[in-house]
């Protein structure tokens, strides 16, 4: 049928021209976006988002990530169910939070149908079993034996953050902070959970990971509540109390917004020298391969960090209407950019003493990796040196090799922790592994 061929080839030609235009990227030095003053190029809006997803390859026998000089790496536990975050208990036991995303949000636009189709089988949703549980690992680093495992807590609701204060263990599910009784040496939690504070969950639950930490004196909890959209495309009303860090009174459960304008804050933790709260934040997508840089920042009480109206201070986002000049005016510039689309989800300050000297006091960041740029970025653990409680120097790669040469993902790093021996632990939610990184000499 000649006529249809004519028409469809015209349409094909048109869409091809659009696609080509969308892929003509200028060379850009990603490193220029690492540090306190990132280069911010002009906004580019595409006709279809630049999607480059990494399909799952997994770790084949004997394969493992590469580490920086002076370190070595070993799999501490494999065959897990989508491990996303880690927590070291005072006795050295390690909690592995195995978490599944909540049910997908309702389809409201034709694009949602297309995206769901494209992302099927590619993302880290991971069909690795029921998940939504916490596994306890107990191991003796000297013995070299595999850790003993026990199911610590099960049937949770998309959990992510965990923190222990005294004998109270708090789990941040996607929709509530729940308290459980814990006693030193417990392999499993037998008591029932009590809800301390409900958190914004579904039916739309776009950024669902609720990161959790406690103040030094244990009276207050801090929980990260991510935005409910990329950039308000689900309506501003569903963003109420989101894109924020909440401060929760541990005794009463009463809460307030501690800081806002943080699109998707994770890895909440206190910097040991200054005592300030720090977080890593996933910034907005679909403004081009080099916008907007994700970042690492200290968080000021009452601070506003831009989302959705602006980024890195007063750079306006044209997709948000009505704008809020009153908020934009006071938007705080984050402390340290990590470059665009790296998706930082884990943050830990190095408080141990067994890794090489240069790591002491600095921050490890787990970068889950990009989908919204033609060349991958992230998919690694980086180290940001600190001095006097502030970043001091260029971020360097510590753990890499999560991608194969053809771009398939063997694994993807998420949450981090330091174990009792001072080794770095990495949750890998695609490789379904917990990696342990001690000094090479150990």
């Amino acid at each position: 049928m000649r006529p249809t061929v004519t028409l469809s080839s015209m349409a094909l030609g048109a869409s091809l021209a659009l696609t080509l235009a969308a892929h003509a990227d200028e060379p850009f030095d990603v490193q220029s976006q690492v540090g306190p003053n990132p280069v911010l190029p002009h906004i580019q809006q595409y006709l279809f988002p630049q999607m480059h997803l990494s399909s799952v390859a997994g770790w084949k026998n004997g394969e493992k990530p590469a580490v920086a000089a002076g370190l070595k790496i070993e799999a501490l536990a494999t065959g897990l169910q989508h491990p996303r975050s880690l927590y070291t208990l005072p006795n050295g036991d390690v909690l592995v939070v195995e978490s599944k995303a909540p049910p997908p949000q309702p389809i409201t636009r034709p694009k949602d149908l297309v995206m769901r189709f494209i992302e099927k089988g590619v993302t880290s949703g991971g069909d690795t079993g029921p998940g939504n549980r916490i596994t306890l690992l107990r191991y003796d680093e000297a013995g070299g034996k595999p850790p003993t495992r026990s199911v610590f807590l099960d049937h949770l609701h998309s959990p992510f953050g965990v923190v222990l204060v005294g004998n109270d263990l708090y789990v941040a599910n996607t929709d509530a902070i729940v308290r459980y009784p814990y006693h030193d040496g417990d392999l499993t939690i037998s008591g029932n959970g009590v809800t301390l504070t409900e958190l914004p969950g579904g039916p739309i639950d776009h950024h669902w990971t609720k990161s959790l930490t406690a103040s030094r004196d244990g009276t207050l909890l801090y929980v990260g509540v991510g935005s409910n959209s990329n950039i308000t495309e689900n309506g501003i009303e569903v963003e109420q109390n989101r894109a924020a860090i909440w401060e929760v009174d541990r005794a009463s459960g009463r809460w307030r917004i501690f800081a806002s304008g943080l699109r998707n804050p994770n890895g909440l933790t206190f910097e040991p020298e200054s005592g300030a709260l720090w977080t890593v934040v996933n910034e907005r997508d679909k403004l081009g391969p080099n916008l907007v840089p994700d970042y690492l920042t200290s968080v000021k009480d009452g601070g506003f960090y831009g989302w959705p109206y602006s980024y890195f201070g007063q750079h306006l986002d044209p997709r948000v209407e009505p704008q809020r000049p009153d908020l934009v005016e006071k938007a705080i510039v984050p402390d340290y950019a990590l470059s665009s689309h790296v998706a930082p989800l884990g943050l830990v300050f190095y408080t141990g003493d067994s890794l090489p000297q240069k790591y002491r006091g600095g921050a490890f960041v787990g970068e889950h990796g990009s989908w919204n740029r033609p060349t991958f970025n992230g998919y690694r653990v980086v180290f940001v040196p600190f001095s006097g409680g502030r970043p001091n120097g260029k971020a360097e790669d510590v753990v890499t090799g999560f991608l194969e040469a053809d771009g398939k993902a063997r694994g993807r790093p998420v949450g981090l922790a330091i174990d009792k021996t001072g080794a770095l632990l990495i949750a890998d939610d695609v490789g379904n592994t917990v990696w342990r990184v001690p000094s090479a000499g150990q």
């Binding site: 006529p3 349409a11 048109a14 659009l18 279809f48 495309e233 309506g235 997709r319």
Partner: protein, 149 residues
Amino acid sequence: MSAANPRSSMRIFRQPIHPMLVPIPIACFVGVLLTDLTYWWSAEMMWADFSAWLVSVGVIFGYLAAIFGLIDFLGNRFIRAQAPAWPHAIGNVVLLMLATLNMFVHSRDAWTSVVPWGLTLSVLCVLIVLFTTWMGRSMVYGHRVGVAE
């Protein structure tokens, strides 16, 4: 009287398929202009969502209608010989290209899925629809294209 009415090649029970399909894209492209305008005034995402559905459904049925229209157009030289046939065909090809572009613009997030380029394209599409439907009707009501004997 003169020669027989120009016959449509693609028919079901003597009725041409092309005019069965065209009301859908016409209504969708007019609708998306209305919902775009409402979003422009209200900044209420629900209207931008309506626009995204309307333009997408309009484009899909627009291509379907175009396939049957082109077969009629190329399948019968008496149809091509009518004065409104060429402007109708070329106008609708331009319309489908702009509507496809508009569908992609409407797949963006929030305000810039509509303002300014989505809305601009929606206005252009409706202007072209006014012209091409006029040409299409004059082929039927003026030149008896596809009309049963």
